[in-house]
């Protein structure tokens, strides 16, 4: 049962000779991303401490890097790259639509509760 694999990553900029090589290549890429995350988490550069859309810039970078890692795990380790477009969409679209929606309503509500507890006429520090 020979299976066809698409061997290019980074939008075709990097093409591997075999599937095994692609796996090791993706591992190296994921490791680099993790090392960058840990290094940023330890040194916490002061430039990245400014706020953007309610969150520290550093946290935005962490979240974006996490999604990058998730993309390569799903696309190369779970072989989504080799599946038909309809299967890929039926897996990814529900998640891409529902999760941001859930996160958006919950975090907005939490921020509202935080404001009520700090600015409201209720003492929470008894």
């Amino acid at each position: 049962m020979a299976v066809e694999h698409k061997l290019s990553i980074f939008r075709g900029r990097l093409t591997f000779a075999s599937n095994t090589q692609k796996i090791w290549g993706v591992l190296i890429f994921l490791s680099i991303v993790t090392v960058v995350e840990v290094a940023l988490g330890i040194f916490k550069p002061t430039i990245l401490m400014s706020y953007f859309l309610g969150m520290k810039l550093l946290n935005w970078i962490f979240i974006i890097l996490t999604i990058v890692k998730a993309y390569y795990i799903a696309w190369d380790f779970m072989h989504l790259r080799d599946e038909t477009r309809s299967l890929t969409s039926s897996i990814v679209l529900p998640l891409v639509i529902l999760i941001p929606y859930l996160v958006f309503i919950l975090l907005l509500e939490a921020d509202y509760i935080y404001n009520v507890m700090t600015d409201g006429f209720v003492s929470w520090n008894f």
């Binding site: 796996i23 840990v38 962490f62 779970m78 038909t84 935080y114």
Partner: protein
Amino acid sequence: MDATLTNQSENEKIWGGGNKPLNSSYGKMMMWFFIVSDALTFSGFLAAYGFSRFKFIDSWPIADEVFNHFPFLHGVDAPMYYVALMTFILIFSSVTMVLAVDAGHHMKKNKVAFYMLLTIVGGAIFLGSQAWEWKNFINGQYGAVETRGGQILQFVSADTGKRVNITSFAASIPTDREQHQGRNGIWYASESTLPTYSVEEIKKGFINNNDLLVKTQQLDENGHKIVLSREESISKIAQSVYVVEGANLIRNEYGNRLFANFFFFITGFHGFHVLSGVLINLIVFFNVVIGTYEKRGHYEMVEKVGLYWHFVDLVWVFVFTFFYLV
């Protein structure tokens, strides 16, 4: 049979029947849809964690101060290195899994078995690491007191600014108080294990020791915990009603009560996924060894369990970010 199917599908539309429109077998598709639903479950947990965190945005515990242990480095402040190591272990076991799937495509039985075994070992190491992490979290390191309002007060040294263990300053007040169990009190009531020190012992020891200050849960604008002055500390410590050592589902010495609950719940649920992944991997490994898939003519089962294993890795990537980094 195959030939007629191919002829039909050329003439008819993709969804007209007689072929596999998604070009994927039933088992693999069902595994994918299970993964989608499980991903939604985990995102529900993580979004709930985010909810609590944004609700208590100015008093949430700082992960670097909680998870700072590393094996064989006692007393060394090593934030994040250990979880980073765990992440690498899990990513690496993901790689051996995908190598097993690849070997399965080429029908190389021994290679599949070897890589499956490596994957199982990686999963077991990860589980052990998580157990160690839980052990440290549950035992705690310094201890703290809780005020009437449920605020956690930790102790720092005024000289060094470092955390101080309650055992190093607690006064000794002899008392007859012992744990209430069914056999030594009223039989239908009991209580959980008493803390090592009573609140009075901590209060007295704190007042006797001029070097100590109270560290509150509140964060200043730079994201550091606010340390009170000596006078404020003494008035604050008078409000304490409970000594907290380590963490359980009710209170924890790290700060907000929800923090420990979410930690146990989310990493526990993920750890349970890893455990079941290791067990399923073991079953598939034995099937590979006795040649079940060789007889069947394909190694699709390895591919399916591989999907699940990668998903577990994927979830850990998110747990790592939201619990330890952000």
